[in-house]
Point group: C2
Chain length 427, copies 2
């Protein structure tokens, strides 16, 4: 039952999410994504995830399977005070550990209840003070259920609370103190993400093929994965390495190689979203921006103002959802709309010029299009969006055709407009 003096390093993890609410259509397990990221950084792969209800027999069987297939089992949930909370009892049972009340925990719980809730602790909460023999108690700074660390010759078992706001800091504390790192051995995983616009997945993949082959042969090898999302592509690079410094140096070099191939299509390699990249460029130029949005309905300005400090460079925007607003508020000539249609490059340009002059800013943006589902024509089907960006020295405009539903068209148009501004500011 006691671990060997120098146990083998942890390599394979299984995550079990416990809770009947996770078997409804309304809730999904998000803890495992966070845990996977954290475990990967320690060089531990996740080989299996399972989601079970609050059911003793089910959990007992699945825990046994998880133990067979991994050397680290992490459970989330089922540590509450009620009869439905079965994790503590089931795991202790399978591992042959008796449960004993830890009076120090009971006292902490009583204090917590009297201070936070000004009410005596219900006696039912004493269940949360039951600790399996030989377990280490993990403090819960955000809730009442302590976590548990159990270990035997088959590996480590971690019992964590289900609510992310309790689980995440508890796991962070474990990582911080080095307990998991010590058991995970030397290898760690370093990662980089490149965010890319203006290319489709298959072309990006094709352009990167020579690098993939080089990275595969590197020692240690660099793993590359492409993920396509709406309006952008992400290239994920990762490397399992004995020292973090070596890994970061190798991935920095790989990032530079990828940027040499993909050029300005890479807008971020440090996690920043596009609206933040554009904001940082505006700050660097000392520029302010104003937008005239039609089909995007304010989404672009909303994304720009999601960035803290954006009031430094976002002056104002006009959402011109009617032709009247385009002519009256933005000064777009009626004749221009009559000649080219409201959804056209000349009108987008006139909107960008109009808002730029009106706001007295450096950069003006105009967006006009057909988000659907109605309003399409054979020449200008749903998804047609004209975008223009204008500064003192540069004018850009283009008509796009986006696929998808209304909200997807809106998002892709916002992405294309932000990207147009970005390319204008780095040109």
């Amino acid at each position: 039952m006691t671990p060997p003096a120098s146990p083998p390093p942890l390599k394979r993890a299984a995550i079990i999410a416990v809770g009947s609410e996770l078997l409804t259509p309304f809730r999904s397990d998000t803890n495992s994504l966070h845990l996977t990221d954290q475990l990967n950084r320690l060089g531990i792969d996740v080989v299996l995830k399972m989601i079970v209800g609050d059911d003793r027999a089910e959990l007992r069987e699945l825990f046994q399977i998880a133990r067979q297939r991994s050397d680290l089992v992490v459970t989330c949930g089922g540590l509450g005070p009620t009869d439905d909370d079965v994790t503590r009892e089931v795991i202790a049972g399978v591992m042959g550990r008796a449960l004993k009340e830890d009076v120090a925990i009971t006292e902490q719980l009583r204090t917590r209840f009297s201070i936070r809730f000004s009410t005596p602790m219900p006696e039912i909460n004493r269940r949360q003070a039951m600790v399996p023999e030989g377990a280490r108690v993990l403090a819960n700074t955000r809730g009442s259920a302590p976590g548990l660390w159990l270990e035997d010759d088959r590996g480590v078992v971690l019992l964590l609370p289900g609510p992310p706001r309790e689980m995440i800091p508890m796991f962070a504390a474990l990582v911080e103190e080095g307990a998991l790192q010590a058991r995970a051995g030397q290898a760690i995983v370093v990662r980089r993400t490149l965010k890319i616009t203006g290319r489709v997945e298959s072309h990006t993949d094709e352009a990167l093929q020579p690098l993939y082959r080089e990275w595969e042969k590197a020692s240690p090898p660099i793993a590359a994965t492409i993920l396509a999302a709406l309006g952008q592509i992400e290239l994920h690079l990762s490397m399992t390495t004995p020292t973090a410094a070596d890994g970061h140096a190798a991935l920095d070099a790989a990032v530079a190689q990828a940027i040499a191939v993909l050029g300005d299509d890479v807008y971020s390699s440090d996690g920043r979203p596009l609206e933040r990249v554009v904001g940082d460029l505006l700050v660097a130029h000392g520029f302010r921006i104003a937008l005239a949005e039609s089909c995007t309905g304010g989404l672009i300005t909303s994304r720009l103002t999601d960035v803290p400090g954006s009031s430094r460079y976002v002056r104002h925007s006009v959402i011109a959802y009617s032709n009247d607003a385009k002519t009256g508020l933005l000064g777009v000539p009626e004749a221009l709309i009559a000649e080219h249609g409201a959804v056209s490059e000349p009108v987008a340009l006139a909107m960008a010029d109009g808002i730029r002059a009106q706001a007295g800013v450096d950069v003006g943006v105009g967006v006009t299009g057909i988000a659907g589902p109605d309003g399409g024509t054979p020449e200008k089907p749903v998804g047609t969006v004209a975008i223009a960006a204008v500064s003192a020295t540069s004018t850009r405009s283009r008509v796009y055709r986006f696929m998808g539903e209304r909200e997807q068209v809106k998002f892709q148009a916002s992405q294309a407009a932000l990207d147009m501004v970005r390319r204008m500011l780095i040109a």
Copy 2:
């Protein structure tokens, strides 16, 4: 190997998501939420979910466990043409079915490739035409991998593709044709969701206690769950019933009971989001709306214009991110800002009046606040938002204090503003 003449109804489902990308920090299984909803409607509970990589041994073992614990196993993913795609082969192996190429499928694949991609089908794709003995092939209208229906005396096994855009229509077709309903027996699950604003979870729960007790004792009983989300609460009601009509009648009555208790705080009982409810009310009144947004940065107008047909009632909006824009574009007197501060009820009211007059519409909305992280003061901390809504006959305004990060403050402010308009239009 053949099913009995009248097999027992399917009651317990297990869902297995197959794919190594689902064991990374970047992708989560969303298919199972959709499948759970659909299966619940047929009276089938989901008792277990598992997520495995593209690993033959792992999938073989977990599939066997899933079969032991359920009578319907649904797999998603692993039906592609490459060596990584192992589901077809592993499941056929465990069920003792030989795989044979279905030449009709191969021909369809060849046609698909030549029409859609103008390229010959790679020979590797013949793997997707391999069908286990006795399996029924499920057409894939959106991709190349057909689904499979297998059945024996232990129950039904469904192999579905992983991409949601292929899986969802394939499963919908199965439900549509009644094949699953026929095997699921008589019981079905009917559901209702009430969406609620203006109350906190615990108060809602408290107000509904007498109804909970009544619903629990009903025959069949009505299950109620409260879920709190940002800026709203949802009350989910469900009932397992022999006939859909009885279930719907019972839940309609329960919805009416809940509305009698919660009143106008219930904004929707038919799934409509708040921006849609407001849009429908504007249409019903024949009203048009214009918005003056500051701290929400266009989010409210963007949400309103997410609704198809919103160009009928959204005239235009001004995003006044600077004081200059508030005075210059919206006609807010400088003295008012100097006296009360930009974040104040008088300024929100002046913004609402200003945009209403400027746009010549029925309803004007003004929103001004401090989204954070900077800009807070002791009297007006981050999260302080003043909101006003004005029509020809009604004026409403209020200062809110929202908790959370910048984007959460923005969302809650958008929710409060839409709700203020809603309450004004139903008063």
